[in-house]
Symmetry: none
Subunit: 203 residues, 4 copies
DNA sequence: GATGAATGAGTATTCATTCAT
DNA sequence: CATGAATGAATACTCATTCAT
């Protein structure tokens, strides 16, 4: 019955907070934000409804925090903070990393796709400053790739249009992402095959 | 003061029904099914809440009918009922038609994407037989393209893998669709550029 | 296309009015007043909802008129307006008539029982004066029977209590009515048997 | 400020649940199921509408539970589980008990009568299995009395028909029940008088 | 910190009644 | 006289959030 130290308390809180967020992510991603109820999350997380509000001010804040954490998680994995120049090898590495992440963190990406499609959900996020902060790396990555394709154009000659190529690369990656995240039947062989093909075509 | 003729009534109903469905489509597509309220739809359609239920048994039936109508609309535009063989020219035509439709009937595609992503909404549709009927053309189209790429493989030689090519074609089209439907800033030039590029690469 | 005479019009109206009331009776009796909707009645009567309001001001008025008509119908069949004295033969006749009517006009009695049990429905009727008028014969009949049993007491000697006898007679008749009206399985033989028994015991 | 113990919560729930059921019984019995609104019940029970749904899934479940509880209550009071043979004394006791209960638990019987008369309400109950279980004692009681009157016939001689007698006994009891439950003016003297008479005539 | 009973504003749905034709 | 589209108030039910313990 010895009282917990402040540090133990903090860790306990952090764990419970993570548990709630994990549970919420699962349901927001699969059923959608509006369809998912707080009761449902609480029950599946094995806690009381009241406790949820001890960790998050509202359902919307829960979503915000969740997105924020997810963005950070993806961002950390990507780690694009090199010298600002993408080598061919780094390009290939990036594609492999991103596609791998699409499988590993499928639920997060489901959430991201959902959010992209729902005005209402977007509004919730816009009222949350930290999200903007988290998303600052997007222009950075965009520049990185834009530069990459421009450099490639210099090597490839006249009928290579870097803008078109980058555009094709992005939509192909997007389409692959969509397929990976929302189809239950994408086997290992086809996955590798597609990744290699994308790299081969666009690197 | 004789009452309206049955024909007048029928036309009145058909018009009002279409008005409700159009309004619902707009809101389901932009805000999502669960976020959209019947009140909201009624207000924007300029009718009373009660009237909605004179035309549709429930919110879910409204969605069902909406999807059914949308599928039929897309299907009619596609008109894939030729001889069962896709020529190079027809392939190009198909791509142009589909991508054009993505812009013209953007709202319908928004709805389709939303539905693909939400388990709950899918369940609603599974309880609707006519939907299955409407979707019967999907395997047909798939076979059409599968054959197309196999035939192409015979011309192209050994290192052309028809399965990979078809897969790349599909994810590219999907990615393009996603981009067209959900981004507000895709100009005419980039659109044409991308369509031409897809045709050039995959035909 | 010759125009109808005023008399024909009146008859047509009367017929339609009766049709609506018959249909309403059926549903009020079986499903209850509050459960029965105007739409339902209209559909089963083969007319439009609007027309109903051409014949009756409201659902409540429809009930009132229905009860009024039913009371009159029962009343006419009973025809108790003799000399004010019930002979033994008339007593027997009365029991036979009433029990016969319970079978023939079962639906009406279902309605009456329902009304007896629902405060709300009673209130609707209380606001309808004509009902009170229609029910004026109840005290009359009561007196008739009260006198009958008192006269019988004079013949029967000391341990015959006319009040008790009348009370037993009434509850027996009530119980028989309840059974006849609400049970689907009361065969001819048991019916006759019971009627004869009631007459034998109480006359 | 530690939370309530599970036991405290259980007791709280049980009390509140009973309060809601008691209030509902009163209104269902007097106004009828369909006329009674949840708002009304909530207001009279001094709780919010929402809370009702914390205890009962729907209005229909509330009715089901109410009937179930009522049947159990009546059943427990009757306690017919003896040796399977009804003595004359036990017959008298049964009549006294049942009639006493009709006065004490008048509201419950009002509900039972209502339900007997409304098809719709019956359907609600048929979907409730436990109700069937609760009603299993009815055939048992029926047999008990059937045997009683058959045994009596052996003592009484040829012109005593046990079937007729039992039938008369049942309709008399039913009629008495109906009168007791739905008339506000049945005094103590008349009650005792009738009970004694029924016993005297049929035992 | 933790619980779950309680609230009340909001949502889908129903239905008596009206009204233009 | 007859129709059925249209209304709106009422009803069953849900759910994010609060709060006493």
């Amino acid at each position: 019955m010895s009282p917990r130290t402040p540090k133990q308390y903090r860790e306990l809180r952090e764990e419970k907070r993570a548990l709630i967020m994990d549970t919420a992510l699962l349901h927001f991603a699969n059923e959608g934000f509006h369809k998912t109820t707080i009761s449902h999350i609480a029950k599946h997380a094995g806690i009381s409804k009241g406790l949820m509000y001890n960790y998050f001010k509202s359902k919307e804040e829960l979503l915000s925090e969740l997105v924020s954490r997810s963005v950070r998680e993806i961002y950390n994995d990507l780690d694009p903070d090199r010298d600002g120049i993408l080598s061919t090898q780094e390009f290939e590495l990036f594609v492999r990393k991103v596609t791998e992440m699409l499988r590993e963190k499928r639920t997060i990406w489901m959430l991201f796709f959902q959010m992209m499609m729902q005005n209402e959900v977007q509004k919730i996020l816009e009222e949350n400053l930290s999200f903007d902060d988290d998303m600052k790396f997007i222009p950075h990555v965009t520049t990185l790739f834009s530069d990459y394709f421009k450099r490639k154009a210099q090597k490839m000659g006249n009928d290579y249009n870097p803008e078109t190529e980058m555009n094709m690369f992005i939509i192909t990656l997007k389409g692959f992402a969509l397929t990976l995240v929302f189809s239950d039947t994408f086997d290992e062989r086809l996955f590798n095959n597609t990744v290699n093909n994308i790299i081969q075509v666009y690197k």
